[in-house]
Symmetry: C3
Subunit: 365 residues, 3 copies
């Protein structure tokens, strides 16, 4: 996409600040990093520690917060510069154009299998080798890529994107505008077994039917390879507006709240509940049956073993409030020196005791 | 499914205990949690800390252990209440009915590819877009979902369920009643390279042929997205009755013992062996070439660096016997105060030394 | 494959050392472990602690380093015995023979979908239910297994192997001799959202278009289920010769250097760069925007929070230089005893203080 800087500024709600009177009429065509930008690119100052690069970048303009100044550079000043940058990405690059499922222009490929009892909404593209099972419902304007399986009685809302090889098990439900990247699996059986041995026999793990489902609410996006267990009874839920990165595992019966953000390889065991706006760093884990409050932030690799109240930042294994965890970590760094110090102190004490004893002896002489 | 409480009690081996003479003839239709149960539901007391809910639930009856009493509530008393609950789930909900592969009622979809040299047993369903390769053998009464790949010369036993997009590489072997959820991969090449550089050249990682296979024994179930490396020589083995949750990675040549239970995201490196009835918490990891004994329990997120003897509970990174680990953890919490205390003690000692010196000086006067 | 020991020795650059004059003419057919080897097998001494097994193995010969001796056993002596063993595996077992995509012998299955605008090179096999999208290019002598999706405008080099259900998103690039095991996903959208709320409204996570791609350089191999995010702008890169095990997640914009080796379940956040010959143990993680130097070795389960200079071995959470980490770990083991010792010392000090006071009182009398 190509437009003038003035057009871009208007669309992203930014103000041009420039020593160059013609700056507003310059044409821009793409977003780029400060380092890689060419003269037709718009760049973005993500971190104040790179402010010096604002002067040296070849970019046509740099999106910045109001407090940033740079005399020789054209600036696009925005109150929320990261959101303005995002909007510039949308204006100049836009989102993926999905390919046509069939050379004949029909929305449903003749090489897909759509059950006669399934419903597929208007404008939905179904690619070759996708399967829409009996009594499944797919809404309008969805994209069902090759190799996708939508199980019996599953329901998919409008404007959903299911990338290649996504699997939605029987009876699971996806809201509107749900995006699942390749390899995501929704609603496989939860990890439920009753270990039982008849008298005199070795115990076996007896499978418990997983009779519930998984519900993915509106505006959820998941990266590649996420796996969401169905519930034993009731539903596993991923709340509205929540975004997952890749390879995340969610146990059965867990209810992830609205607008959560989870980095890759996070794992939540079963029957966990999380509040709104919870953020989890990569590879963090939560034990079963715990309640995580609203706006909790969990550091990468944390292991949560206890309930976490609202608005608490936690980290470590086991996870502690971040200040406490840092204090323990810093104090642990001092232990080697502490051991040496205590050894010397012990020698001093022994000496003092000996001296006092001698003194006592001397005075008793 | 619908039946009287008496019928259910008989089938799950429980005894009705009720103040209501008609309780045995009440109809029940489903299992539910204590909280969500309606008047036709059977609930289950999973944890004694919820005993008070037994009085308040609307459920028709609650499955409990013999020591639980609740005057106003109909109870289904069972020696192993969790197993009785599991059996109630089986009676009232049952297991998944697998869809038909083809509208014409034939068990093998004409849209699947079955090699002329492959064998597919009686009663086995093969869905569209599945591939059964040359000289592969699939037993009786299996379900092969869409997108499944059974590689050349692979063997699948009877009554197996391979959910959409499962992949079984060439020459791998599945026993009877093996269930693999979507996205599981069995027998990809193990992680084997010989790093070697000719004199004066940068070293390269030279791939070692992975000439072994992976063997999944009877009654194994795996959640979504598990990956089991094939062995360099011989077999990687997942033992009889073992159950995996999701996204578990098993290295080449590793032998997982019988009846193990692994929570999601566990990783075992290569050439590990585990005994019988080993339990691993989520995100636990085991380094290569280690032997884990029988009935070992590994806490979530543990990092096992050493051999673990039979019947040992371990936790932490590096994993230690659980008592020892807890002791170290608790003692680590005391370090910040210890640092303060030692600082004060140092001052005291210095003062004592000064006093004694003065005293000595004084007496030498 | 079958050959004489002399033929094998010549091909792998080893020297026969044997008390048996006929040893060189013995036939060998396979590689095996020292323990499992039969009389036609060649074994390999992987670890000096198993040297005693060289005497007892039934193998026809054992590949060893020059400093190993064993009177009663035929040895194949090689300067780099692991590389010699790897070469013996190649000679005696070789690499996988890929199946034919179609019984009619044609390289492209009529059950695959290849866009009329895509290019597929000579000798490339395309299996049933694979999709090669519009304007995609696949080089020569590749193997595209069932269920593989090659997205619009994606480019795949020569001699690549894409195992079942691999997905390559639009515009991504694979070099030559790239091997991706089942379930790998290349180029799904990176985890990029701008969280923004209009005044008086709850904030939402607004998706940032991920306009970049992912580039997998020559000679990269990945195990099953790895997920490589595409970049927001520019490219995510996996460097030449790098090898991944299973279930590895790489964030957007990250540049993995050449010849890295990552064990299963490693996760790198976005905008990380790694040098050459970096080794990461299983389940290690790296926070975003960090620079990892050349030849850095990262212990399993480490959590890297800071830049790591060249040739540094690190471990722990947070990751520290290995010596320092070990020192802290060992010192932490001493804390419980330290607590007891300090308690006793405190009593001694209090006593000494009391004694001195009494003494002072006495002398002031």
């Amino acid at each position: 996409m190509s437009m003038t800087l003035q057009q871009l500024a208007d669309r992203i709600g930014a103000t041009i600040r420039s020593a160059d009177a013609d700056a507003a009429q310059r044409t821009v065509t793409a977003c780029s990093s400060l380092e890689a930008a060419g003269p037709d690119d718009v760049a973005f100052l993500a971190n104040v520690k790179y402010t010096s690069q604002v002067q040296t970048t070849r970019a046509a303009a740099v999106i910045v917060a109001p407090d940033i100044t740079a005399e020789s550079q054209t600036l696009l000043v925005a109150d929320d510069p990261y959101f303005a940058f995002r909007n510039a990405m949308v204006e100049l690059h836009g989102f993926r154009n999905h390919p046509a499922p069939s050379p004949d222009g029909k929305p449903v490929s003749p090489l897909a299998v759509v059950s006669p009892t399934a419903k597929v909404g208007h404008g939905t593209k179904v690619h070759p080798f996708a399967v829409i099972s009996d009594h499944a419902v797919v809404g309008e304007n969805c994209v069902i890529y090759p190799g996708v399986f939508v199980g019996p009685r599953a329901r998919v809302g409008n404007d959903c994107q299911l990338y290649p090889n996504v699997v939605v098990y029987d009876d699971c439900v996806l809201g509107n505008r749900v995006t699942l990247h390749s390899g995501c699996v929704i609603g496989q059986d939860g990890f439920g077994y009753a270990t039982h041995g008849e008298p005199g026999q070795a115990p076996l793990h007896h499978k418990i039917p997983q009779a519930g489902n998984a519900v993915i609410e509106d505006d959820v996006e998941m990266g590649a390879g996420c796996t969401i267990d169905r519930a034993t009874m009731g539903s596993t839920v991923i709340g509205v507006g929540t975004k997952f990165s890749d390879l995340i595992a969610i146990g059965h019966g867990t209810k992830v709240g609205p607008h959560n953000l989870y980095v890759a390889q996070v794992g939540l065991a079963g029957s966990v509940t999380t509040g709104a706006y919870v953020v989890m760093g990569g590879q963090a884990g939560v034990a079963g049956h715990l309640k995580i409050g609203n706006q909790v932030k969990v550091a990468a690799k944390s292991g949560i073993m206890h309930e976490i109240p609202d608005k608490t930042d936690v980290g470590g294994q086991p996870a502690l409030p971040l200040n406490e965890g840092k204090r323990l970590l810093l104090s642990s760094f001092k232990v080697p020196d502490l051991l040496k110090q205590v050894k010397q102190m012990q020698r001093d004490i022994d000496k003092l005791k000996a001296q006092l004893e001698t003194g006592a002896d001397a005075s008793s002489d």
